[in-house]
């Protein structure tokens, strides 16, 4: 029902790996925002998000992703999403966010 965030830094790939498990909404988005701020402070590198177990994300959560991307773009880094569920893919399509994030798989 809530959100679990697992993160790991791949030294070889110079990339953050983040798994989002559960739901990102107005209740849990703050938790995601804090995690991203810390990651980016630590190392401004690409963030690759495993969305396999992400059941739901609302506009608040998408706003957090956009905010993080803005910081990363200053260094030409990206946010990559993979294993995205159909319902979330639909949301990324209609908002046009599939054009600013990299969607894989």
């Amino acid at each position: 029902m809530s959100l679990i965030i697992e993160k790991y830094y791949y030294e070889e790939k110079k990339q953050w790996s983040v798994s989002l498990i559960g739901e990102v909404d107005i209740y849990t988005a703050g938790q995601l925002k804090e995690t991203f701020i810390k990651l980016i402070e630590e190392k401004k590198e690409d963030i690759k998000i495993n969305a396999e177990e992400l059941d739901y994300i609302d506009s608040t959560g998408l706003g957090v992703l956009i905010g993080a991307l803005k910081r990363l773009k200053q260094e030409n880094k990206d946010i990559i999403l993979f294993n995205v569920k159909p319902s979330i893919k639909k949301l990324l399509n209609i908002t046009g966010l599939d054009k600013i994030f990299i969607i894989e798989g």
Partner: protein, 144 residues
């Protein structure tokens, strides 16, 4: 007076972020019970949750409740989300999100756009100081 009334479910919910997930489950269960297909159930869930998020974000205060009203008709579900918040007179003018100007953009402004995209009919009644009602309709059939 022989007209059959429509079934109506009313939900009154505290203006707090932790309760949006309760509304999501309730609306999912209602749409499922009505016989909507999985994709439409998801559309309705996402749209109603966005309206609730707005009611909470722009609602008066945490001690208040906002209302979600479900009107179940033969061929459609109407959901009205109403708050006693500050209202907003420009709500009907919200167009597409402006993602090309990522750097100029604040994080936000997607909610109303998502609601309009996912529902078949959306009406917003909002006046400065007297709260907001977002009324959303989803049809069961294919041609919408």
């Amino acid at each position: 007076m022989s007209k059959k009334n429509n079934d109506e479910i009313k939900l009154s919910i505290p203006n707090k972020p932790e309760y949006v997930s309760v509304v999501r489950l309730t609306v999912t269960s209602i749409a499922n019970r009505m016989g909507f297909d999985i994709e439409k159930i998801e559309d309705i869930k996402v749209a109603v949750a966005e309206a609730c998020t707005n009611a909470i974000t722009h609602g008066k205060n945490e001690e208040d409740n906002f209302l979600v009203d479900f009107i179940m008709e033969e061929d459609k579900l109407v959901v009205n989300v109403s708050d006693n918040g500050r209202g907003c007179t420009t709500l009907n003018e919200i167009k597409n999100p402006d993602l090309d100007h990522l750097n100029h953009e604040k994080e936000g402004g997607l909610g109303i756009f998502i609601i309009r995209s996912l529902m078949d009919n959306v009406q917003i009644i909002s006046n400065h100081g007297s709260g907001t009602i977002i009324s959303m309709t989803k049809y069961m059939g294919e041609d919408h």
